[in-house]
């Protein structure tokens, strides 16, 4: 097992990619704090599944865009596990619309959760990781943050922001043994992409050299790599896990 005894916090871990990340890291021996903001029942189910693997798990409700919520979440996690080795900033939302139709509140909501949330969570764990002289921070960005995407100005700006934040945090924290990296997933099958019409999906497939949508496990395996000792010489990077869409 690659993460035996490691303490992990995954934001937005009740469903989708976050849930898969939490389960994958638990399979490799980590104890997991499962953060959620709305889906309590599904967060509890994720935690129960982790406990059945013989690992520890707690569920922590927090809005990642709220500083006091975030501080409490990190405190609760450290209290439960006695330390914090790995943070996965995964929580995110979409409020898609064309620029001309996008409401200011749609912009603010996405920025607050997808970008400010990463800042607040990173800030909150830094103290503990600096003391430990080790830590891993893994930010889930998006391939659209690299290439742009019509109808997602807010989401794209936030995800591009995450890449810049990743590089800066990596530079600030490297001397304390903390690595910070990002993952830019391409089109991954989730509840969100399942709803898309077939012709849209076919259009997407034409842009993917590997000719299939990604699975949540494709992202989870990459998180595992960045969380493990295998990636110890990598920091400040954004890994594109997108079937070759952007090269």
């Amino acid at each position: 097992m690659k993460l035996h005894g490691k303490a992990v916090l995954v934001t937005g871990a009740s469903r989708g990619i976050g849930r898969e990340i939490a389960l994958e890291l638990a399979r490799e021996g980590a104890d997991i704090a499962v953060n959620y903001s709305g889906s309590e029942q599904r967060a509890i189910e994720t935690a129960e599944e982790i406990k059945r693997m013989g690992r520890q798990a707690i569920v922590v409700k927090a809005d990642v865009s709220d500083a006091s919520d975030v501080e409490k979440m990190v405190k609760d996690t450290i209290q439960a596990f006695g330390k914090l080795d790995i943070l996965v900033n995964n929580a995110g939302i979409t409020r898609d619309n064309l620029l001309m139709r996008m409401k200011e509140s749609d912009w603010d909501d996405v920025m607050n959760i997808n970008l400010k949330g990463v800042f607040l969570c990173t800030k909150a764990v830094t103290r503990q990781m600096m003391k430990q002289r080790s830590g891993r921070i893994i930010n889930i960005s998006s391939i659209v943050g690299v290439m742009g995407n019509a109808g997602q100005a807010n989401y794209v700006a936030a995800k591009a922001g995450v890449i810049g934040l990743t590089k800066t945090a990596a530079k600030e924290l490297a001397s304390r043994g903390i690595t910070v990296n990002a993952i830019a997933p391409g089109f991954i099958t989730t509840d969100m992409t399942d709803k898309l019409p077939d012709e849209v999906k076919e259009g997407m497939l034409k842009t993917i050299p590997l000719a299939r949508l990604g699975e949540p496990s494709d992202i989870a395996k990459t998180v595992l790599f960045l969380a493990s000792e295998d990636s110890r010489y990598i920091t400040g990077q954004t890994l594109h896990v997108d079937g070759g869409m952007v090269m």
Binding site: M130, E172, S175
Partner: protein
């Protein structure tokens, strides 16, 4: 006062690897003791633990010398 200075000095010597004789009230962490910004953040964190107090970010930014730290701690105790 002496006790606070003694405890602060010990932390600075441990953390920054300087000689005890270099640590005096006028010494600036960055200019005289070779600390970078992150070292100062860490020092403040250790002072918080040592003296069981919380030092806000705003207050922490004002701590530039050993004397600033000692005065701050004395003011809070």
């Amino acid at each position: 006062m002496a006790d606070v200075l003694e405890r602060v000095t010990k932390i600075i010597v441990d953390r920054l690897g300087v000689e005890e004789s270099q640590v005096n009230l006028e010494a600036s962490f960055k200019d005289d003791l070779g600390a970078d910004s992150l070292d100062v953040v860490e020092l403040v964190m250790e002072l918080e633990d040592e003296f069981s107090m919380e030092i806000s970010d705003d207050d922490a930014e004002k701590i530039g010398t050993v004397g600033d730290a000692v005065n701050y701690i004395n003011g809070k105790m």
